[in-house]
Symmetry: C2
Subunit: 109 residues, 2 copies
Amino acid sequence: MGATKTEHFTDKQNSIATLTKALGHPARIAIMEYLIKVDTCICGDIVNELPLAQPTISQHLKELKNAGLIKGNIEGNSICYCVDEKAIGKLQDYFTNIATKLNKKNNCC
Amino acid sequence: MGATKTEHFTDKQNSIATLTKALGHPARIAIMEYLIKVDTCICGDIVNELPLAQPTISQHLKELKNAGLIKGNIEGNSICYCVDEKAIGKLQDYFTNIATKLNKKNNCC
DNA sequence: AATGTTTATCGTAATATTGCAATATTAAAT
DNA sequence: ATTTAATATTGCAATATTACGATAAACATT
């Protein structure tokens, strides 16, 4: 026991949960915000930007990449990471849709 | 070691991470969607709706409540849970803001 | 008061995440 | 070819999450 029962939920539910789970850590939020802030994408300086060791940052980047939130291009011996707009669009749509539905009913609580 | 270093990040970053982390599980996404779908909020039937045991559902509800995503009113011996529109609004704003910023630059990857 | 219904908590096992030192890998620079 | 720089991987300890059976607490019904 202890393993998430993903098979019992819809693909859409799992897909949204994958994205939100990947964003469910302040370091990964900070990484996303940094990637959005900088104009250039040569992003090795995330390690300098955040108070975490290099292997830790690397691991967080890997999780964001696995979830499809960022993309990475090898560029010489450094790597150009940037945000995948499609994933953000998915989340934007999802929450906008929920917000719209909520506006249409008078919540009891 | 192993504990998240929340103190190194901004309140906003931690706040968004708290919300997304709480949504980072398909069961909790399913619970949210169910709460939005049903018109009445008498929500004990979440247990019947989802393929998880009652204590597990109760635990997930607690996490959603701790994160501020849902509210719960005691109503006799059952409880009326419903989605907190403010939290959803926060997420909608956050992702809309990011999406807008991304549209303004030509991503290199 | 006794019983049933609903939700929460406790205890515990299985699994996953977080963080980093040490090390490996890859490519650029000398 | 060596050295330097940038990332990734490995291995491990600490911590957190997931799931559920058993049980408790709170209220309703009889």
